[in-house]
């Protein structure tokens, strides 16, 4: 089993994802350069956080045209699991793999601090290790994380259970103060229709060791790995 972490020019959480996968989860991971045209037989793909192309124009707008993205789109179409974190989420939206867009934070300032998330759907391949309603704590660090989509899209997301994480307070309530960026419906992470592409603004890879203050992000990676082990073809 192998997970590819894509490095775009300006990615800066690629290494953190890689270390979380290899050192903490204990799964094989490798970097893929944005100019690569192959995913190298990866079983899952992570688009990490950072500032691809400096976030110039719009976050993710230039990275989505990177050569490797063609492969990522194909991979996703074939049902391969793709996880986009922060800038990775923005790229997924720009690439049309997820609906909607991420606008500038409502308060106009970069937001870097821990947030609480409520697991809204624990039946996805990324969240099977959590309980529905469980409250997680992990950092955010972004300037453009204000999720926006038209009303119709939002109600479809709601209806299909594709809102995977919502910003809440420590008690699990969606109070206005708990929403750090103005996201519609307190959205922190969403799933595509088939359920194999997840985009989220918070950083689970920064919450995988006690010494970092939280291990609540670990579940996303272990859920994914469990899913991959369960679906892996028997070794021939």
């Amino acid at each position: 089993m192998k997970i590819s972490v894509i490095t775009f020019p300006g990615s800066n959480c690629d290494y953190d994802c890689y270390k979380a996968l290899r050192d903490v989860v204990g799964v094989d991971a490798e970097f893929r350069w944005h100019k690569d045209r192959e995913l190298g037989g990866a079983d899952a793909v992570i688009l990490p956080g950072g500032f691809s192309y400096g976030d110039y124009l719009r976050a993710g707008s230039i990275a989505r045209f990177s050569p490797i993205m063609e492969k990522v789109v194909e991979f996703a179409a074939d049902g391969g699991p793709v996880l986009g974190i922060c800038n990775g989420f923005q790229i997924l939206c720009e690439a049309g793999l997820l609906p909607g867009a991420l606008l500038r934070n409502e308060g106009l300032t970069f937001q870097s601090h821990d947030v609480h998330l409520r697991v809204e759907n624990a039946e996805t391949l990324f969240t099977s290790g959590y309980q529905k309603g469980q409250v997680l704590r992990m950092p955010i660090a972004h300037g453009e994380g204000n999720y926006h989509a038209d009303t119709e899209t939002l109600s479809r997301l709601e209806g299909d259970g594709r809102i995977v994480f919502r910003y809440v307070n420590a008690e699990g309530e969606t109070t206005p103060w708990a929403n750090p960026n103005g996201s519609a419906h307190h959205i922190a992470g969403i799933l595509n229709e088939p359920g194999n592409v997840l985009g989220m603004m918070p950083h689970p890879e920064r919450a995988v060791e006690e010494i970092l203050g939280s291990t609540d992000g670990l579940g996303i990676f272990t859920s994914l790995v469990e899913h991959l082990s369960a679906t892996a073809p028997a070794p021939s």
């Binding site: 230039i62 045209f65 939206c93 720009e94 867009a101 409502e106 308060g107």
Partner: protein, 90 residues
């Protein structure tokens, strides 16, 4: 072929929250500018486009907007070329 200067204005779609516009509005008011309304913040990109005539340059710029410069989920764009009239209610 000749070069044509194109100015692309990119604005948040109407109805979309525009915190930047709000902040500018607020700052103008606190500087004493009264009677200012409908403040919207946006982006602009200016470029020179090689094309056989202005019409073709505009068409190419349109395509750039559709492909890259604007995100239709959140933005509208307007293309201006030298000699255009600035429209009334863009």
């Amino acid at each position: 072929m000749s070069r044509h200067r194109v100015e692309v204005l990119i604005r948040p779609r109407p109805g979309l929250l525009d915190p930047e516009g709000k902040a500018i509005h607020h700052a103008l008011a606190s500087l004493g500018f009264q009677g200012v309304e409908e403040v919207r913040g946006g982006k602009s990109v200016s470029l020179e486009v090689e094309a056989k005539d202005p019409a073709e340059a505009r068409e190419r710029a349109e395509e750039m907007c559709r492909k890259l410069l604007a995100n239709p989920v959140m933005e509208d764009y307007e293309i201006q070329m030298a000699g255009d009239d600035v429209p009334e209610g863009a």
